[in-house]
């Protein structure tokens, strides 16, 4: 019983005592009772004793107090929701699968099936804690249902944000639910309330690939691989970097690493169409031992340049060829540079329109620049003379402007016919001789290339979303594993399909008839560092023994009638006051 209930009981006693003492009346003889209101004389005569009844108001007051005492006692009752609500937060990170079949996940599964699912009086909600919390199945499953859905716990996430999952539970569920966290890491602080932190990990020495990248540089690609030791003692690193398709070794590494030490390898590969693989050979913790770097170069864009001015034709063509992202052809369905907007039926054709003035106005002042738009991001400051048609008025999104005169604006949506209007007269300008010129065209071509069918990149970090631009007329895309089985499927929106993060490995993305290879690498120092993993004591009964506490809170059963009685009490006392005031 809560202290409030005790005080309530005392209040009831005090109230009754007050009423009892107040009822100790003293006798007063009067000549006649005839002036004390209307009192009827009994017809049969004789003495009449009017015994006062217990005041109804007293009964109401005592009833109110009793109800409040009962409410203060925090009553629980068996209702339709009598099953104990249990929430399982499951660490979905890759480290839970380390050392299979003796992995932390396997131990946690055994425990869940033996202890949690054995309690039949529970309703279970399972939340997979990856980068974002995700409910497995539905809320409030029976243990049998939950057991069938447990296969969805795959431990493929590059990171497990347990605290985000706990925050989700706090915001979405009642405060009396039991929360069981299954992970391989010990709790940073003692869990409070009805949460139990169940840790199944054990400290391990690990050497991991913590970074892998590949980028184009001229005709060759540059690659970067980083190896890190997460061992408690100095350990040996035996690794190799190779081109599997040619079975050619690029670099073999055999070295000692101190705890926490990294070994970075940079190299150039001329075969830009071939994949590179890095792997560690002597590490028993295998989930972070392999990284793939697939070719990153896309199919060059077909670009048509149809500009009347010879100077403009030359400068634009040179900028396009310098980017390495496109080749100039006679006609194009992807990007057209022109001085006059052309009507087209192709809904994927972008047009870059030069507004060339017959009587240009020249200036060399400051230019406003939208630095977050993909077309103008990263452009250097404008230091050039610029001749423009001052009669041009903005009709779309202005990215560069001088005063009220738009210099560069875009109209339409990128996934359809986007038009960029560039207010520039080359004969009286020297902007095409500045550093801004090639950067602007590189941005334009890179942006256009993003909307060419295919994935946004070819090498992804585990956990990051995978965006795929869909070819025309294709509505959905699918990701297949190396063995050809379907891993994920997504419906496109605005000609783009987005897949949530995948576990490390090689995949194939298929969209209609087109397909591309992508690689997902873990590259997570936090996940690979298993030195801090540990196990906690596992209680045989993680659920609260006082199952009554899980029953429904029925305080309202008492509070609502108490409020109604309070209203009645007010009514009675007000009626009495008004009766007194009538005299």
């Amino acid at each position: 019983m809560s202290p409030a209930a005790l005080w309530g009981l005392l209040a009831i006693s005090a109230l009754a005592a007050v009423y009892l003492f107040r009822r100790q009346a003293r006798d007063v003889k009067v000549s006649s009772l005839m002036f004390f209101g209307r009192r009827q004389t009994p017809a049969e005569g004789g003495r009449r004793l009017t015994v006062p009844q217990t005041p109804f108001i007293l009964l109401v007051e005592i009833a109110i107090l009793i109800l409040l005492v009962l409410a203060a006692a925090n009553p629980r009752a068996i209702t339709g929701e009598k099953l104990i609500p249990v929430i399982l937060i499951l660490d979905d990170s890759l480290s839970m699968g380390v050392n299979a079949p003796d992995s932390p996940k396997a131990a946690a599964l055994k425990y869940i099936e033996r202890v949690v699912f054995a309690a039949t009086s529970t309703r279970i909600t399972m939340i997979k804690a990856g980068a974002q919390p995700e409910v497995i199945g539905r809320h409030d499953m029976t243990p049998a249902e939950a057991a069938t859905m447990l296969a969805e716990w795959r431990c493929h996430a590059a990171d497990a944000d347990l605290f985000k999952a706990l925050r989700y539970v706090t915001e979405s569920f009642a405060s009396d639910v039991s929360v069981l966290v299954f992970t391989d890491r010990p709790a940073e602080k003692n869990p409070e309330g009805r949460m139990q932190w169940l840790s199944f990990g054990r400290p391990l020495s690990n050497v991991a690939i913590t970074a892998a990248s590949r980028y184009a540089l001229g005709a060759a690609d540059r690659c970067f691989i980083e190896f890190t030791s997460f061992a408690a003692e100095p350990c040996r690193l035996e690794a190799e970097i190779l081109v599997p398709e040619q079975n050619r070794l690029i670099e073999s590494i055999d070295t000692m690493l101190q705890p926490g030490e990294t070994r970075r390898v940079r190299f150039v590969i001329n075969e830009t169409a071939l994949a590179v693989q890095a792997n560690i050979k002597n590490d028993p913790v295998t989930f972070d031992n392999v990284a793939w770097l697939l070719p990153i170069r896309r199919v060059p864009l077909d670009v048509a340049v149809d500009l009347g001015s010879k100077l403009l034709q030359q400068t634009v063509t040179r900028a396009i060829e310098a980017s390495g992202l496109a080749k100039v052809t006679g006609s194009s369905s992807q990007l057209l540079f022109t001085t006059r907007l052309a009507a087209t039926a192709d809904d994927s054709l972008w047009q870059f329109v030069f507004k060339v003035a017959s009587q240009p106005a020249a200036f060399s002042g400051s230019v406003s620049l939208d630095k977050i738009h993909p077309l103008t991001a990263g452009l250097p400051p404008v230091r050039a003379a610029w001749a423009v048609d001052s009669a041009v008025r903005a009709e779309g999104q202005v990215l560069m402007s001088a005063g009220t005169v738009p210099l560069l604006e875009v109209q339409g949506r990128p996934e359809q016919n986007l038009t960029a209007v560039f207010n520039y007269t080359p004969e009286y300008s020297d902007l095409h001789k500045s550093a801004l010129w090639p950067a602007l065209f590189y941005n334009l071509l890179a942006w256009r290339q993003q909307f060419s069918p295919g994935p946004a990149a070819f090498n992804f970090r585990s956990g990051s979303d995978i965006a795929v631009s869909l070819p025309a007329e294709v509505e959905r895309a699918e990701i297949l594993s190396e063995d050809g089985s379907s891993v994920a499927e997504a419906v496109g929106w605005r000609r783009q399909a987005v897949f949530p993060g995948l576990p490390p490995g090689l995949y194939q993305v298929r969209a209609g008839a087109a397909s591309w290879r992508i690689a997902v690498n873990l590259c997570s120092a936090k996940e690979s560092d298993l030195r801090a993993a540990g196990a906690s004591g596992l209680p045989e009964l993680p659920l609260p023994a006082e199952t009554m506490l899980n029953f429904a809170d029925v305080r309202w059963w008492f509070i609502v009638p108490a409020l109604l009685l309070l209203v009645l009490h007010q009514f009675l006392t007000m009626r009495r006051r008004s009766a007194d005031a009538a005299f």
């Binding site: 003889k29 009067v30 209101g37 009017t50 006062p52």
Partner: protein, 291 residues
């Protein structure tokens, strides 16, 4: 008893200062065997005075007018045969615990009896309980009156209406009571004023009858019926009591006016302290004797 005896003795002594008014305005008091204090129509000449409108023309002294050319009337001594019927309420409420109502009741009786004798009245006394019993003789010391205990628990009004006393016609009648009974005043007054020269109602009250000493949780007992009621004595209850009491008293006053009776009020405590029935003097029922 000794207290009552002393009080009555003191009252009789106080009563010597008064006489009961014997006036021709009391129409029934004419033609008696005693001379009144005022002028009247007896054969004994008293004085002359100038004629005033309304004087009996038979009393104009024509000789004096012939001598003085002034219209002069003869004044004759009033001749009366006065009688006083004293009716005493002997119900339980007149002996209220903690009050001196009974002492005041018989003190008032003693003063009236003495004042009546002083004015040449004959006196009859009636103790009203379930019947109206005549005190024989009325000259008995009051404390020795048989049945002078106030012990009747019934309705005095009903007794007066149902069993009226054989009151002398054309006499003065005085009822001394607290009037705390449920009977229509008109019925009682009609009965008592029938053939009366004058009816005087003296309401004798205790201080606690005017303002009962009530506070807190009390059990109010009716000293006559024994009925009890428990109440919380709030301001509202006292206001209710006083309103009802005043309404009752006003009703008696109006009824007395209508019936040609005189209504006076007397509070026991203050009356016993001074032994002066102020309201009776104010209404000229009693007159102070000149020394």
């Amino acid at each position: 008893m000794s207290s009552l005896k002393e009080t009555v003795s003191a009252a009789e002594l106080a009563g010597q200062r008064f006489y009961l008014n014997v006036s021709s305005r009391f129409s029934g008091l004419q033609g008696g065997g005693r001379f009144g204090r005022n002028t009247g129509n007896s054969l004994e000449f008293v004085d002359h005075r100038e004629y005033q409108p309304g004087d009996d023309v038979r009393h104009i002294d024509w000789n004096a007018m012939a001598r003085s050319d002034r219209l002069t009337v003869k004044l004759f001594r009033e001749e009366v045969s006065p009688h006083l019927d004293l009716l005493v309420d002997a119900s339980l409420s007149m002996q209220l615990d903690g009050s001196r109502k009974r002492e005041a009741l018989y003190a008032m009786t003693a003063i009236l009896r003495t004042a009546a004798i002083n004015a040449g009245y004959t006196v009859s006394a009636w103790i009203v309980k379930d019947r109206c019993r005549r005190v024989e003789p009325a000259s008995l010391p009051i404390h020795d009156w048989p049945g002078n205990d106030c012990d009747f628990s019934g309705n005095i009004g009903q007794t007066l209406v149902s069993f009226p006393p054989a009151l002398r016609p054309a006499g003065v009648r005085v009822l001394i009571s607290d009037l705390f009974w449920k009977e229509e005043p008109q019925a009682v007054l009609r009965q008592l004023s029938n053939n009366a020269a004058l009816l005087v109602i003296v309401q004798l009250l205790a201080e606690t009858d005017i303002l009962p000493p009530l506070s807190g949780n009390v059990r109010i007992l009716d000293c006559e019926s024994g009925e009890a009621v428990e109440v919380v004595a709030e301001e509202g209850l006292l206001r209710e009591y006083q309103a009802n009491f005043t309404r009752h008293q006003e009703y008696w006053k109006r009824s007395c006016t209508r019936a040609g009776a005189v209504f006076t009020r007397c509070v026991a405590g203050s009356f016993l302290h001074e032994m002066v029935p102020e309201e009776l003097l104010k209404n000229e029922i009693l007159m102070a004797r000149s020394r």
